[in-house]
């Protein structure tokens, strides 16, 4: 068993199990029993039960779970209005408890999907709650957006209704699309089976592998999404480790969000696998930086290189120095389009501790107009259903739901798209230098 230190304490508590987990936390020393600082909420029990029977069962305290039996029926209104009302107090109480165990609460991570009923509806309800109860704590949301061939028919409704909440109450959103994750997983498996990498791929270094064996694509593809998501959260939090240029979560929000509503960040994670040799020639390092900007490595279906950057953050882990960072920024800058008033819009962070199984890694977060197509598509799918008023009655008969909820939500999304359009219109235009202040000499 290892030592419980500061970096672990950002995600876990260390408790003495003899007192039933209610005793005071152990702050330093050996790990006794780790409990995640987390709340698991689901309106049906299947998934949570699976977790509790799996290898992580000791990490989650039964007091940190909120479940129900029947689920939300893929209905945002059921999740948000019905269950929201019903479970509000319960959720607040559990949140307070978890928060009390923290020395210094910096941020909440909400992980959910947009297409369903619980994650989307109850999830955004919790987002609102967090803003009310803990207004000074940052709210980071990783949202899984539905793909085109989603089998949930009402997912456009759910997603758009949820988007309005994200627009108004989240500090930062990292959208993820399953399609992109599947593509990445496929690519890795293809490379392995085509023998290109040969036997040089390090065990356990693949994003998709767990317990040392690689899974085929058909088996549990959603596992890979989960893993990728987890890796992002970990990377984002590498401020828990030392480095020569620390980058904290609040700095991410500060630097990447120039206007409060434009807080959607496109993320990419490289490398996706490590070759067995430990010495990293700079060629490999540079390849990692190039990959971070290619459309294949983005976690949503988007191509940031051909759209407009408002800001970009690079968080590097491992034995990478500031000169490597500088060199690559200089190299890649000419092929990227930055908005005219933020031509030097780079935020960088260096963390000396690499992730497990890799010698170095890079997380790139971009505030880029390439999210626009995702939103436009969502709007189109929504409008297809809405024009026919299909399935609306399922929503409208829930207490608190009215037609206006729908019209407000779609107008919020349209406004957002319009803001991105305006920015795109400035792309490639002449750079106007505003006049400097004239002062009397």
């Amino acid at each position: 068993k290892g030592i419980y230190d500061e970096s672990l304490s950002s995600f876990f508590r260390n408790v003495d199990t003899r007192s039933g987990g209610d005793g005071p936390d152990i702050y330093k020393g050996k790990i006794c029993s780790l409990k995640a600082r987390a709340l698991l909420i689901d309106m049906e029990e299947g998934v949570v039960n699976e977790i509790l029977q799996g290898p992580l069962r000791d990490v989650f305290d039964s007091k940190q779970l909120i479940t129900d039996v029947s689920g939300s029926g893929n209905n945002w209104a059921v999740g948000h209005k019905l269950y929201g009302c019903q479970y509000r107090e319960n959720i607040v109480e559990k949140l307070r408890k978890t928060a009390e165990h923290c020395d210094c609460l910096q941020c909440f991570f909400i992980i959910h999907s947009m297409g369903g009923g619980t994650g989307s509806g109850l999830g955004t309800f919790v987002l609102n709650l967090l803003e009310d109860e803990f207004p000074e704590v940052y709210r980071f949301v990783t949202s899984v957006y539905p793909s085109g061939e989603d089998d949930v028919i009402t997912s456009p409704y759910n997603s758009v209704l949820a988007m309005k909440e994200l627009n108004e109450h989240a500090d930062c959103v990292l959208p993820i699309e399953n399609e992109s994750l599947f593509d990445i997983v496929n690519k890795i498996h293809q490379m392995i089976s085509s023998g290109k990498l040969g036997s040089t791929v390090k065990q356990n270094s693949l994003v998709t592998s767990s317990a040392g064996s690689t899974k085929t694509v058909q088996e549990k593809p959603f596992d890979s999404s989960g893993v990728a998501l987890a890796m992002i959260v970990l990377e984002l939090n590498s401020a828990r480790f030392e480095g020569s240029l620390n980058m904290d979560l609040n700095e991410i929000s500060m630097n990447l969000v120039p206007f409060p509503r434009l807080h959607y960040l496109v993320s990419s994670l490289t490398p996706l696998y490590t070759l067995a040799d430990v010495n990293v020639p700079s060629r490999r390092l540079d390849q990692m930086f190039s990959d971070a900007f290619s459309r294949d490595h983005q976690l949503i279906q988007a191509d940031p290189k051909h759209s407009l950057y408002l800001a970009c953050a690079l968080l590097v882990r491992g034995n990478v120095q500031v000169s490597d960072l500088r060199r690559n920024i200089e190299r890649l800058k000419p092929s990227l389009h930055f908005v005219s008033w933020n031509q030097e819009g780079w935020k960088t962070g260096l963390c000396s501790v690499p992730p497990v199984g890799h010698s170095h890694s890079l997380l790139a977060l971009a505030n880029n107009t390439c999210v626009k197509p995702t939103f436009i598509e969502l709007k189109d799918r929504f409008m297809k259903l809405y024009k026919k008023k299909a399935h609306l009655h399922h929503y409208l008969h829930i207490d608190g739901m009215e037609q206006s909820c729908f019209s407000e939500a779609i107008s919020s999304l349209s406004d957002l798209i319009e803001e991105y359009n305006e920015l795109d219109a400035t792309k490639g235009g002449p750079r106007t230098d505003p006049s400097r202040l004239k002062i009397a000499v």
Binding site: Q106, L245, N250, R326, E344, K347
Partner: protein, 457 residues
Amino acid sequence: MSIVTVQLGQCGNQIGHEVFNAICSDVHGTHGLCSKKENESYHDACKERFFSEEESEVPVARAVLVDMEPKVISQTLSIAARSGYWKYDDRSHFCQKQGSGNNWANGYSVHGPRHKEVIMNLVQKEAEKCDRLGGFFTIMSMAGGTGSGLGAFVTQCLRDAFPTSFILNHVIWPYGTGEVIVQNYNSVLTLSHLYRSSDALLVHENDVIHKICAQLMKIKQISFRDVNQVIAHQLGSVFQPTYTAEGGLHYSRNPLGDLMETLVPHPEFKMLGLRNIPQMPENSLPYSTFSWPGLIKHLRQMLIANAKMEEGIDWQVRPPQLGSSIPSSHSTNKPMHFNTSIANLVILRGKDMHNVDLGSFRDPSLYTSWLNPQDAFNASLFQQSKVMMNKLEDSSYALVETFLCLKHDGRVRNTEQCICSVDKAYIHQYTKFGIEEEDFLDSFTALEQVISSYTIL
């Protein structure tokens, strides 16, 4: 006289640590070029200036470490203690948990007032430990949130609490292609506030030091540690004890005061720059020789042509001819890129210094017209060949005061672009903590004022 160092934020603490390291290793180095007695008196002067002797066996740095998150300070404290040569006082630090999020407003308007008492108490304690307090030396970067915002606030508090002490702010100018996106905002706000409370601002630019590391020191994979070590080397060479030109036998008793007196004759002109020659990797030393005249010549040209290192100097630039026909409007007469100085201070360290001719620095064409060249130039000598980390035998350093007009222009304009454009990017992050648009405008005005004062020279 003793100097109390205040290390602010990640940058301030990382650099501060390297500075004390450099000074300490200088003191412990052995050199055969001067008498034992001289060595000892050098040691004592140096120690008194930067360290205090307490019950512990190793000297304790006179420093206060401040940061809004704990990792850097705990690292700094432990690395220093492990060296075995010196350490920090275990109680002389203050940190919080959350950091400032690169937000100047957070550092200045929230953390500052909230923690003012605790921080000033620590400073007071360090000040009281000094027999005679020579002043304060603060180290900070301008790009982030703590060093810049909290640093500006702390400087103000220092000025209020110690109205007659000297305050020298060492600021790090961030890389041009961004370490932090809002660095322009943070820098402008910091500069304008520091200008009010500080006595002088000594600027080091990351881009310049990076170049020195790459081209002169030939470091392949440059890390922040390398950059900080170069900076520390330069700073140490300024702050280590020196004899004044007149009082050949005693070490200057008032280092900061002397600095200010020579270099800041007018409170409108507070920006200082530092040039250092020669700089090279340790293993090149056995293959190089230097002579004073050569070094002096290079240094002078570096000064005139606004070059920051001894490679790539533009030798074409010459000072204007004095006494030439056009009496008014200096600007048309001056060649491009010529750097006018307000005051210069040259510090020489090495052997055989009595023969060094510094007359070329006394040339009045180097300076503005309203100062007598005798007043504008000063030399500080150090007899012994005490060398800094690099074990150089002869080295000469000069401290000049100029204002990096062009550079500043670029950055300030960029920031103004953000604000003046209709969108007012990122401002909401600052208004959240109490800095409004007018505050930005005030800062711009203040800086434009300074820029124009320098441009007129």
